[in-house]
Amino acid sequence: MQLRIQQLLPVYFDEARKSNSDIWGKDLSFSKGEMIKIVAPSGSGKTSLVHFLYGMRQDYNGSILYGDKNIKQFGAEDFALHRKDNISVVFQDLRLFPEQTVGENLEIKRQLNPFHPSEKIKEMAERLGIGNKLQSKAKICSYGEQQRVAIIRSLLQPFDFLLLDEPFSHLDNNNSEKAMELMLEEAKQREACIIFADLERIDYFPYTKLFHL
């Protein structure tokens, strides 16, 4: 399965952006198994790109194709299926249920399309050092802890593509590496592609392709 972008440019960017970007206005395709690193300074449209690829926003020109289907043609139900089966994401702004516990936040995602058994949640949480937070409400966890919850959540479903939008912004190197290791393992299990957008290069992400946004 391939994720392709053709002449993609947000409507609010001017054409000049195309000349000094590896992604905007280009034709690219990402395949399963690839590790894509996108280095993007602030304001270069990193979050926009992730939102476009995930289908949350449509304010762009050009097209995004999943297989041979243009995702702009997707209806609400199509997107629901797409997100359930094919694509997962770690948002920069995390998007957890603040009133729900960490455990509930994770279980909500797992139950949608179980890839792992329920026990796996505990195991992953232990591995990233938030095993004792499963019963706490998400809103009282620190931002770093919430970031790890969001990372684990993204790994509880099947996917061909995993989109990461600055997933380690509030994690120290040690925790980031542990999280990266977990994500790589999970991606490998699914032979999935990781599209990792961050401000700068990170050494412990073994990318196969590097783009500057």
Binding site: M56, A76, E77, F79, A80, L81, H82, R83, K84, R95, F97, I108, K109, L112, N113, Q157
Partner: protein, 364 residues
């Protein structure tokens, strides 16, 4: 809900009570009608023309209509030696199909000196009431049929005497009836006129209490035997009241549904962020709306079933305490009411599901 279901049940009760109670012969009601005589139309001709009768026959709720043809000549009756009584009377003729008791002897051929007569049972009763004070013998129906009455018919063109014999008594027609062909012949021979117009018309109808019929008669200003249509009159009023109540109940339900939909919108608006996040995570809007609708389903079902149960209690009490277990009615609610309740449940579930779904899709 209770109001609506109760009105529906009462409506059905009234229908059942009144259709089963009305007096029927051969499944039809026979009613005689006449034009209303008022001070305004007193001088005019208030008889039915053949056009009037054709119009009556054309009405869907009137199966048939026949005029009561009157005598146009003078008729004097005397009973001879046995009953020393003599009086001017009137005779009428009516199509045999409209008479309840027609014996085979009720025929007349020209030059036949005897005349069969069908006599109103009420007239006989009336006679028996005043007979003693006039020193006349009271008569049983059997004796009355043996009395030979001499009818002295006198018109412009001549006079004839016939020996009349009562061959039957009628409960339906308040008149002295003779065979149709006799009166036609007599009117022509003695008075030189065709018997076309009549003051009374008999109509045959499926239901004398039919509101369309009553409306039509009112509109034409025709007078009808009040007794026979009294049920229909009270039915009209009762049904009006019950329908009014039903409409009110319907309005209340509509209002309640609206209120509930506002409440639902509020609930959705309050949890908008959570719902949006669920959609972002990949939950299907159709699935979510189904689940939301399911949350409210028990409330609806509970409300409707409670309404139904109370209607049942009401119907039972009505039947038992007010109607003293009359056999025409049932102690249980009619299936129409149950069907209406089920319909209401389905309707409210569907409208809610659609509302939630629309709101969720808008959120996407």
């Amino acid at each position: 809900m209770l109001l609506l279901l109760c009105s529906l049940q009462m409506f059905i009760n009234i229908q059942q009570l009144l259709t089963r109670n009305s007096i029927r012969k051969n499944g039809s009601d026979f009613v005689s009608i006449a034009k209303n005589i008022t001070n305004e139309n007193m001088g005019k001709d208030n008889r039915f023309s053949s056009a009037d009768i054709a119009e009556l026959k054309a009405q869907p709720f009137i199966e048939d209509a026949a005029p009561l043809i009157p005598n146009l000549f003078r008729v004097q009756a005397s009973a001879g030696q046995m009953v020393n009584f003599s009086s001017d009377i009137f005779i009428e003729a009516l199509n045999n199909n409209f008479i309840d008791t027609v014996p085979p002897t009720f025929t007349w051929v020209e030059n036949q000196p005897t005349l069969p007569v069908i006599f109103s049972s009420e007239f006989l009763e009336m006679y028996n009431v005043f007979a003693p004070s006039w020193e006349l013998p009271q008569l049983s129906p059997a004796t009355a049929t043996n009395v030979a009455i001499s009818l002295h018919c006198e018109g412009k063109l001549g006079e004839r005497i016939f020996i009349a014999r009562i061959v039957a008594f009628s409960d339906r027609v308040n008149s002295i009836l003779v065979p149709e062909n006799f009166l036609e012949w007599a009117n022509k021979t003695l008075e030189g006129q065709d018997s076309t117009k009549s003051s009374r018309v008999f109509i045959k109808t499926k239901d004398a209490n039919n509101s369309d019929l009553l409306k039509f008669l009112d509109q034409k200003d025709y007078r009808v035997n009040k007794d026979k249509t009294m049920f229909g009159r009270s039915k009209q009023i009762l049904q009006g009241i019950i329908t009014g109540l039903g409409v009110f109940g319907l309005l209340v339900i509509l209002l309640a549904l609206m209120l509930f939909s506002f409440y639902l919108q509020l609930v959705i608006a309050r949890s908008k962020d959570n719902l949006q996040l669920l959609l972002t995570l990949g939950y299907s809007p159709a699935w979510l709306s189904q689940n939301m609708a399911k949350q409210f389903m028990p409330v609806y079902i509970f409300v409707v079933l409670t309404g139904l149960a109370l209607t049942q209690v009401m119907q039972w009490s009505f039947h038992h305490f007010v109607m003293y277990d009359r056999p025409e009615l049932s102690s249980f609610v009619d299936w129409v009411v149950i069907a209406a309740a089920i319909l209401l449940i389905i309707l409210s579930i569907i409208t809610n599901y659609r509302l939630v779904k629309r709101l969720l899709y808008r959120m996407f």
